[in-house]
Symmetry: C2
Subunit: 346 residues, 2 copies
DNA sequence: TGTCGGCGTTGAAAGGTTTCACGTCGAGAG
DNA sequence: CTCTCGACGTGAAACCTTTCAACGCCGACA
């Protein structure tokens, strides 16, 4: 880099004042060029623009925000940025935000309370115009505090019990139900539900739907077992696979329903690698229908969620909340859909 | 929400001034409580803290930044946020940033020049302390402009031809070479390289490495063919699979080397779903060794890159560039490693 | 010739924080 | 009793932008 670059010359970045000076106009005029170019005569405008280019002027967004009180930025706090489900949701948000001329920052809470809090505090301090979040706990008082302090917040893939926020969800109980009904239809009478941690509402509700469907089918309560995992990850799926393989033959299930596809894929890999056949020895149902589900060792039956629509809708709700003075909170719920593939059909 | 929340009461958020007033102290003292609590007597500190809590005070980061000139924030502009390779890299960055008490914003350029520019401009205006980026084009003059204007920038998974930035890469030519050498060792004499768009350096260099290895093996140039894709995505892999299946029998390759795992997995799925056997009818090598590679329909041979280390190292270089006055640009290069699995071993 | 409207430009105020040179007060030393 | 010093606390300045009331100027019109 040349030593004569503007920033290198004196360590201070050029401000509108510097531009004004060089262009022989007042401060206000530079600002006009930036924000209402039509109010400025062509000659002056040109002079100012030349000065900006010469100096390498970059507008200071902090100062603008301070003055304007808004940032034209949304943020999405993801529960797990390495899970394709959430990156697809994020993409839906990004597209909607882009259309509305908003920037979007992504943050990853990694499923940890502490990291989530840190991100939220930081975003609030940054004065983002609104926050989208898939929270660790949708009823955490912290979320209410944030809206109370003036930052609108929309919950994605969860809902607040009291309906205190806009939220967009997919009916997880129904998702659990259709998965289990499918397995019951296929003749399974002993099934494991694989998922955790229990603190995640998604995990609980899919389980509740499963249990309800199981009861409705008149099957014995004890024959729907729960295999707990520490996280909704590929690796945890593999571990769960080992645990199931280790069960005494009599109590081993003939099918598993996994709380998400990452677990299902990890479990599938473990099962296949030990020479068992899917679905003959063990049928598997996943959840999310991420792109990899169809391409797995055995194409995976999964409960599909409208991932991108989820994100888009959430962003639209947030935009409304920010702009529309008589906005009212809405709880939008999508319907999941079972996609049956080889892992249960054989 | 109760109507009596601080923000609802008058539409303006409480500032240090309001806190000072309520706590009966001066402005400066509030700031001291925030930044040098030890300089404030216990009683005063307590009074100020109580006032903050009562008012629901949230520090205005824009104002602080404006005053301080730095933001304690890094940003990573990803080439494709839905590609697990990049989310793993991002995770490496995040961990290093967290350790250094920096916030990290993720942005997704989605492989598009325009989106990348928009993000960069915005980040520069936000005065982030540094930018990490996997660029569409590492030699774009825009990148040089950004550092010239005072924002340090580190390139991830690419390198600038002129060495004008710190960068962290994995030797893509070598990666291409080991992939092809492996296939040649397995006896393949007609191979397709599947990847695109050509504008991506990763795609070009893996091809160059492949070609060099192919020549070194003394095989006919015409027998290493190139099947172009529009993107490094699962879907494009599926399409490429159809194109290959559509080739006349004589010119069909016995193995493919895909520019990344997403393509390989998409292609694998297409191939398996049409009843062909892998590797007997078609051997497949991928690139990246993402977590899903091992769990695919047929466990995928792939060229492994140290994804998380890549991110961590890049972040460390950037931290040095920001803090160390006599920082010198470095080009760090990691070595890829072939992980052989069923998709080539049978 | 005097008035008026409109256009282009100006300059100061405001927005919330940090910093720093300065007060103030009380205690301990001489 | 005075002086010094440390511990606490103060208030103004600075950071950079946007906004807005006001101003100067010009041509048009009465």
């Amino acid at each position: 880099m040349s030593i004569s670059t503007p920033a290198a010359r004196n360590g201070r970045r050029p401000s509108v004042k510097d531009v004004a000076e060089r262009a022989q106009v007042s401060l206000g005029t530079v600002s006009n060029v930036l924000n209402r170019p039509d109010r400025v005569s062509a000659g002056t405008r040109e002079r100012v623009e030349r000065a900006m280019a010469d100096l390498g002027f970059v507008l200071n967004e902090s100062a603008r925000q301070l003055r304007m009180g808004r940032s034209n930025t949304f943020a999405y706090v993801m529960l797990d940025a390495t899970n394709p489900f959430f990156t697809d949701v994020a993409r839906g948000i990004e597209l909607a935000a882009e259309k509305a001329d908003l920037s979007l920052f992504l943050c990853n809470s990694d499923g940890r309370d502490a990291r989530e809090s840190a991100h939220l505090a930081h975003l609030q301090q940054q004065r983002v115009d609104g926050i989208l979040i898939t929270p660790v706990d949708p009823d955490a008082p912290e979320l209410a505090r944030i809206t109370a302090q003036g930052t609108p917040l929309v919950i994605v893939d969860r809902a607040n019990t009291a309906g205190a926020f806009c939220s967009v969800t997919v009916d997880d109980r129904l998702g659990g139900r259709v998965a289990i009904e499918h397995l019951v239809d296929r003749g399974h009478t002993r099934v494991a539900y694989v998922g955790g941690p229990w603190s995640l509402g998604q995990v609980r509700e899919r389980w509740e739907g499963s249990r309800a469907a199981w009861d409705d089918a008149g099957l014995a309560e004890a024959d729907l077992i729960h295999v707990a995992t520490e996280a909704l990850s590929f690796e945890e799926g593999r571990i769960a696979g080992e645990r199931i393989a280790g069960l005494p033959r009599r109590s081993r299930p003939s099918a598993v329903f996994c709380a998400n596809d990452l677990i299902a894929l990890g479990l599938l890999q473990q099962v296949v690698s030990t020479g068992q056949r899917v679905p003959e020895d063990l049928a598997i149902v996943g959840y999310d229908d991420i792109a990899f589900a169809a391409g797995a060792a055995v194409p995976l039956t999964s409960v599909r969620q409208p991932r991108q629509s989820l994100g888009r809708t959430a962003a639209e709700l947030l935009i409304d909340e920010v702009n529309n003075p008589d906005h009212e909170h809405q709880q939008v719920e999508f319907t999941p859909e079972l996609i049956a593939r080889t892992s249960t059909l054989g």
